[in-house]
């Protein structure tokens, strides 16, 4: 009899904090500049330099702890993690080992209709390393230290995640919480949020944990999903065919091009990090008052927001989930509702049209006012829904008021029954057979006549009104 296996996943997420300057020096943290322009003796690790901790780093770490339900360790300390790698100038990373800034915490996740609470183990502060620039066909590698010293928090989860979908849902939820709180912009593509996945399989019912594999190098939520699915099936194959022993504790690289996880060069020695307390930094001492004052700066977090939006706007959970995933979209939605008073319609437009557009755009290309007006014009019957879609496309490129665009495009719907009277009458006279058929009981003829009417009105007839008038006329 074949055993059933379940997947056990824990995540280690590195998040770059939204500070202006680096964690231990006053260099800028800006992304995407020429190599090494944001460096100084401290982050370059020159002889004789010393680190000084950025106040805002502590603030944001505590804020993250507050937002994620963690316990804040009022006294915590920095430690050195020693290893050699070209992107690490001092040959040690200043991190936190046994006394991190936060312990515990949790994130509630909804995936594939199931609700799970993913518990966190800890959050700690550390500095980022530089970046290696690998070049094809060259005998050298380039090193850029701009990123070296950028402040990070590392969030570690308990192995509470059970599927790729759950992992992605967790990351999305975590991202939303951190972005809403202003702690980080969490852009996986830019590296301000990085996830390492620890995954193992075990027979259902087994309480212990089997050998886990670490997967690195996923640059988007999609890749996380694929990588987890791939690794899951790789391990499942091995276990199913009695080769479970071949699952070894190792780090595997997700190779997007190949669509596989690949074993990285073994770095066994690298695991002896020889942690010891950082002698150049006194302990981090926080008081309860400070923690509470930071908590007070937390905005409405995703879960709260979701509850409120469901209640206030009467929207379904699934719809709200989509709307609040990105802070910008949530804000846009609520602003649109303020302007239009139409929650349902606004939600529909945003979910179908705006999000479609956002796949290629960095910013929302129309204003809440413009969309609100569009919604209202449709509601009033000024334009048909079909016409509205055309107007929408134009609004993306223009800052003008919606009414003006509608006017310009001549898309005003004919909604007055009197105006339509004539057109419809004309159609009935031109199609006596259809009229007769309808009166004889063939209901399809109505559809045919509707089509003719809409055509005759050059598509401008308000379908609702046309139907009304047609019905009246046929009824008589």
């Amino acid at each position: 009899m074949m055993a059933t296996y379940e997947t056990v996943i824990g995540l280690e997420i590195h998040v770059e904090l939204n500070t202006r300057s680096k964690i231990f020096c006053s260099c800028a943290t800006a992304f995407g500049e020429a190599p090494n322009v944001n460096t100084c003796p401290v982050c370059l690790g020159l002889p004789g330099v010393m680190p000084v901790l950025n106040q805002e780093v502590v603030n944001l770490a505590v804020k993250a702890g507050n937002a994620l339900g963690c316990e804040i360790n009022l006294i915590n300390k920095m430690d050195r993690k020693n290893y050699f790698y070209p992107d690490l100038p001092k040959a040690y990373q200043i991190s936190q080992f046994d006394l991190p800034v936060c312990t515990g915490g949790f994130v509630d996740v909804l995936a594939e209709g199931k609700k799970t609470r993913v518990n966190l183990t800890r959050i700690h502060i550390e500095e980022d390393a530089g970046k290696l620039i690998h070049l094809e066909d060259e005998a050298y590698t380039l090193v850029d230290y701009n990123r070296g010293g950028v402040p990070l928090i590392e969030i570690v989860t308990e192995p509470d995640i059970r599927s790729a979908a759950e992992a992605v849902a967790f990351l999305k939820k975590l991202r939303a919480i951190l972005v809403y709180s202003g702690i980080s912009d969490c852009r996986m593509e830019q590296g301000s949020m990085r996830a390492d996945v620890n995954i193992s399989l075990r027979e259902v019912g087994f309480q212990g944990l089997n050998t886990k594999v670490e997967i690195k190098n996923m640059n988007s939520m999609k890749e996380v999903f694929k990588a987890v699915k791939k690794e899951e099936s790789r391990q499942l194959q091995l276990y199913t065919y009695g080769e479970g022993h071949k699952v070894v504790q190792e780090t595997r690289r997700w190779d997007q091009a190949k669509g596989r996880t690949l074993s990285m060069r073994s770095k066994e020695d690298a695991h002896d990090y020889r942690y010891f307390p950082e002698p150049d930094l006194p302990p981090v001492k926080i008081d309860g008052e400070w923690v509470e004052s930071i908590r007070a700066t937390l905005p409405e977090l995703p879960d709260e927001k979701k509850q409120r939006m469901m209640t206030t706007y009467g929207l379904k959970e699934a719809e709200v989930d989509i709307l609040i995933e990105e802070k910008e979209i949530a804000e846009f939605f609520e602003a649109t509702v303020v302007e239009s008073g139409e929650a349902r319609e606004s939600a529909n437009w945003i979910i179908t049209e705006v999000l479609r557009v956002m796949k290629h755009e960095a910013r929302i290309p129309l204003s809440p006012r413009q969309l609100a007006d569009l919604v209202l014009e449709v509601r009033k019957g000024t334009i048909s829904r079909t016409a509205a879609k055309e107007v929408f496309e134009v609004l993306l490129t223009r800052e003008d008021e919606t009414a003006a665009i509608i006017e310009e495009m001549g898309l005003k719907q004919i909604s007055s029954a009197d105006a339509l009277e004539g057109i419809i009458q004309g159609v009935l006279e031109e199609n006596p057979q259809a009229v007769a058929d309808y009166r004889a009981g063939r209901t399809q003829s109505f559809g045919f006549l509707m089509g003719r009417c809409m055509k005759a009105s050059k598509g401008k007839g308000n379908p609702g009104i046309v139907k009304q008038v047609l019905e009246d006329k046929l009824g008589s």
């Binding site: 003796p41 002889p47 004789g48 010393m50 000084v52 050699f84 090193v143 002896d272 006194p282």
Partner: protein, 490 residues
């Protein structure tokens, strides 16, 4: 002007009274260095042009009516592990033999602001690891009192420079005795300030929780002036302490020692201490008693374990601090290599000296998994114990006295084959660094053979004031002649 005998005080007075010019003083020292340093090896590099230009600028200012500060126009030697912008800073290692820092250490910056004239960078044990200055990658430093003997280390260069009259004062660094020990061997005053009293920013790190920068001088007053010139909070050094440094030592040191309680820890005078050292130091203690101090013997059983704890902590920190030397962004890079790993391993192996490698290995070992608890953790626990024991002692005594070094200055090459024997020279100095307390070493007398013997006073955190009081009283009473005869080297 007998430049070899000049003090900071004397130079300052002369400049103020316009008896001579700063440039004359600087040139006189430079000439003396050129005449004698070949035989001593105190300097690794000289900045003649810079020193003369600086002194000229000072003269212009004085000419223009500016009153010179105590350190204005006064030349000094700076240990070569303190970063000096634009001047090579080598730590006496092949690894940094052509390293030119883009910034000044905070203490160097402060002295420059006060108009100090940096003559050059002084020799040392490589990366400050050593007790005899025989570990310099370039050449050893000889003791100006007897050039067949060591100057002590690791700040052998600064000590020898002052003792030989190449500068009235110098800056050194002390991690386990590296100022006090050469001060003792070279017949000088050497101060290791309270940990956190002086900025470490720009001091190339060896044992970060132990290192402190401090002055060498021939008189207690000069040492006090120099310390006042460099101490104080630095926002670039997160371990530097705000608002605790007292200052004003040159005034407060004149109060005498009546009623000062001095503890004599018997373990520091036990077996293993050279009988001449013991005799000379105890004689000095007796002098203090005659001057009104209350002297009492007590037990402070920390020497042996302290040495062990010190070597573990300092090596551990050093192994981490020296990881950055890989030839990538600066420093020595090996010629032939295949790939990054090899480049790093070969560069480090070729450029680091024996003792440095030994300590990196020792440090890596005591931190490695499996050994951390047995060695490093125990050392850190013992460290807390030492702090407590000193605190208890200072509840009773104003200062604790001991010989600075258990032995007389030894011959060059005498202890180089036995690392342990060399480490034992630090027996009486290391616990001071472990506890982070201040200590001062000054000459207590000479051996029959004319070799200097140093006496050490240890005080509670930020009690440098008391130490200067005791040292000044003793110095004035002993009235030793502290200028050795040097043979000119042709």
């Amino acid at each position: 002007m007998d430049i070899a005998k000049m003090t900071i005080k004397a130079i300052h007075t002369g400049l103020e009274n316009k008896d001579f010019k700063a440039e004359e003083v600087t040139r006189a020292y430079l000439a003396r260095i050129k005449a004698f340093d070949q035989g001593i090896g105190a300097f690794l590099s000289l900045d003649e042009a810079g020193a003369i230009a600086m002194s000229r600028g000072i003269d212009e200012k004085i000419q223009g009516g500016e009153a010179p500060g105590l350190l204005t126009g006064v030349p000094l030697a700076v240990k070569d592990n303190l970063c000096t912008r634009g001047l090579k800073t080598t730590c006496a290692s092949r690894m940094l033999e052509d390293f030119v820092p883009p910034y000044d250490a905070t203490v160097v910056g402060r002295l420059r602001e006060r108009g100090a004239v940096i003559l050059g960078k002084a020799n040392m044990d490589e990366f400050a690891m050593g007790s005899s200055n025989e570990n310099s990658a370039f050449y050893p430093v000889k003791n100006p009192w007897d050039m067949t003997r060591v100057s002590g280390g690791s700040s052998g260069g600064p000590a020898a420079a002052v003792a030989a009259g190449f500068a009235p004062y110098a800056l050194g660094s002390d991690t386990g005795g590296s100022i006090r020990m050469p001060a003792s061997f070279c017949g000088l005053v050497g101060v290791k300030p309270t940990y956190g009293a002086v900025s470490r920013y720009g001091l190339i790190a060896f044992g970060s929780s132990l290192d402190q920068v401090g002055p060498f001088a021939r008189t207690v007053e000069d040492a006090a002036i120099a310390l006042e010139g460099i101490e104080g909070f630095d926002p670039k050094d997160a371990t530097s302490v705000e608002g605790r440094v007292r200052g004003g030592y040159t005034a407060s040191m004149l109060s005498g020692v009546k009623g000062i309680r001095i503890g004599v820890p018997r373990e520091f005078f036990a077996q293993g201490v050279d009988p001449e050292v013991k005799k000379t130091v105890l004689r000095a203690v007796k002098r203090l008693e005659a001057l009104g101090a209350e002297v009492e013997e007590f037990s402070l059983p920390i020497t042996e374990s302290g040495l062990s704890a010190y070597y573990m902590i300092s090596s551990a920190e050093a192994s981490s601090n020296l990881g950055r030397y890989d030839g990538v962004r600066f420093g020595y890079r090996t010629r032939d290599y295949d790939g990054f790993e090899e480049m790093v391993v070969k560069s480090r192996t070729e450029a680091f000296g024996q003792e440095v490698k030994r300590r990196i290995m020792l440090g890596t070992y005591v931190l490695s998994s499996g050994y951390y608890d047995a060695y490093y953790k125990k050392a850190m626990l013992f460290r807390q114990k030492v702090r407590r024991l000193f605190k208890e002692a200072f509840e009773v005594y104003d200062a604790v006295v001991s010989p600075t070094v258990p032995v007389l200055p030894f011959k060059l090459g005498e202890k180089t084959q036995d690392p342990l024997a060399m480490y034992l020279a630090d027996l009486f100095t290391v616990n001071v660094n472990i506890a982070g307390i201040p200590a001062i070493s000054l000459p207590a007398g000479f051996s029959e053979g004319g070799l200097p013997v140093g006496i050490q006073f240890m005080g509670d955190h930020f009690e440098e004031t008391k130490l200067f009081r005791i040292a000044y009283a003793l110095e004035q009473d002993l009235g030793l002649n502290l200028v050795p005869e040097l043979k000119e080297v042709k």
